[in-house]
Amino acid sequence: MTDKAVPVIEGLFSDTAEGPRLLGSRCAACGTPYFPSSAVCHNPECSDSRIEEAFFGPGGTLWSCALQNYPPPPPARYDEPYEPYLLGMVDMDEGLRVMARINAADITAVEIGSRVELELDTLCKGGEGEDVITWKFKVVQP
C-alpha cells in the first residue's frame, strides 16, 4: 500500500487494533448477523427487532469459489491490464456468509473448505493514483 489509500466504500470495514473487521450489525434478540448493516431484523422467526452494531472477522471457511477469467462489466473496478481473480463465498465464524475476493499463492488451486482470514487489500488504483481498498480473504490453511 502507498501512504494514500481510500476505502472503496465508507463504513463497511475497518482496520481495528485487533486487525481487520467487517462492520455490520446483529439483532440482539435473535442473534442474526447482517453485513452490510440492516435497519431492522429480517429473520421471520424474530418478533423483536433490536439491531446493534457488530464487527465480524477475521476467520472463515471457503464454501465455494469461481475464477473470474474475463473483465466483468461496470460498475466492477480493476486495473489494466486485467488479471483474473478468484471470487469466493466465505462462511465466517460468526455465522455470516460473505462474498469476497480470495487471495492465495495459486488462485487456480484453492480448495473448498480451506480456512481463510479477512484482510484489507488493494482493489485497484483510483483516479488520482491512490490505492482503493476493499475487503478480501486470504487462504491460511488449505
Partner: protein, 390 residues
Amino acid sequence: MASNGICDRVAIVGMGCTYFGEHWDKSLEDLLIEAANEAYLSAGVDGDRIDAYWLGTMGRLSGLTLSEPLKINYKPVSHVENFCATGSEALRNAAYAVASGAYDCVMAIGVEKLKDSGFSGLVVQNPPSDGSSPAMTAPAQFSMLAPDYFEKYGVDPEVGKEVLSRIAYKNHCNGAKNPKAQFRKEVPMDAIMCSPRVADPLGIMDCSGVSDGSAAAVVVRAEDAHKYTDNPIFIKALSFVAGPAAGPLSQDYDFTTFPEVVASAKDAYQQAGLKNPMEEISMAEVHDCFTPTELVLYEDLGFAERGGAWREVLDGAFDLDGRLPVNPDGGLKSFGHPIGASGLRMMFEMWLQLRGEAGERQIKDPKIGLTHNLGGAPGRCVSFVSVVGR
C-alpha cells in the same frame, strides 16, 4: 363485455401500513418487512399461513423482491405493475386468486422507495418513441386539466385557483389528523394559493408528496373471514381498465374528464350493485396526484354533477364532515405517494374507517367505501375503482 365481479366473495382480514415519508435509514426490504409484519399481526397469522403473494412496485422485475426479505419458503410470489395504480393491481390479483378457490389466504403488498432514487413519481418517456415526444413533467400533464375545466364551465381562473387550493387545504387538514401521513400539518389557504408555481396554474402545494412507504393486506374468502377477525371488510367491486390512449391523438379529447375513470366507475358500481353511488357511498379515497385531478374525479366518479364539483368543493361537500368525505386520510397530497404502495394505502384507510379505528378523523358509521387509483396521465391512463363495505 362481461364483468361479473366477485361481490362479497372475498374479504380483507388484516392490513398494515408504514409511515409514509422519508425513510433514509431503511431499505425497500425493511419497509416490506414492516408492512407485512403489521398485516400478519392484524390478521392474527404468520407467514406460514399465506399461500401466495402479490407484490406491487416499480420496475423490480420479479417476486424475489418480496420473497427475499420476507424469507418466503417456496411459494408463489408475483410481481405486478400498472403505473401509479400498481398497489391496487396487486390487491385485485390477490382477491381474484382467492375467489377462484386456488388459495385460501394470500397477501397483496405494495412498496416504493422514491426519496433516494432522486425521482419523483414514474419517470418514463411516452410513445411515440421516435423522439418526437415533448419533455413533459407529471405536474404539467395534470395541470392541463385545470384551464380546460375552468373554460368549459365558465369558472373565473381566480376562483378556479381557490377551488384547487381548497382541495389541497382539505387534504392537509385530514392528513394533520393522521399519524402515518407524510405531511401532518394544516396549511392556510393563502399559503397554498401563493405557493411557488411548478406548472401553471399548479403550485407546489397542488402536488402530492414524494415519499417512501409500504402497505399490505391479507385476503381470504368471505366465508372464512370471521375465523381471522370480528370485523373483516368485504370486497364488493374491483374494476381495472386501460384506455386506448386517445388523448395525444384525438382532437376531440376533452381535458375535463378521464374516460378511463368513467368506465371503471360504471363497471365497479354495476359489480357492487350500487344504483345511486352519490348517495350510497359513505367515503372515498381518490387519486389526488394533483389538485385538478381530484376536481375532475368528483365528476367522473359521479360524486358531483358535471360542471358542479367546483362549487361543491367551496361549499365543503368533500370535507371530513361534508356530505361525502374524500381522502379522509390526507390523500396522496398529505399522506404521500410511494407509487406501488398507494393503492393499498387507500384501502388501509377504508379498513380503519369501516372498523371504526380511524381515531380523530373517524367518519360517522360509514357503510360503503370507494378507492380510486389512477396510473398514467390525462388522455393516456389506466384507472382502478374498488367498492368495499362491512
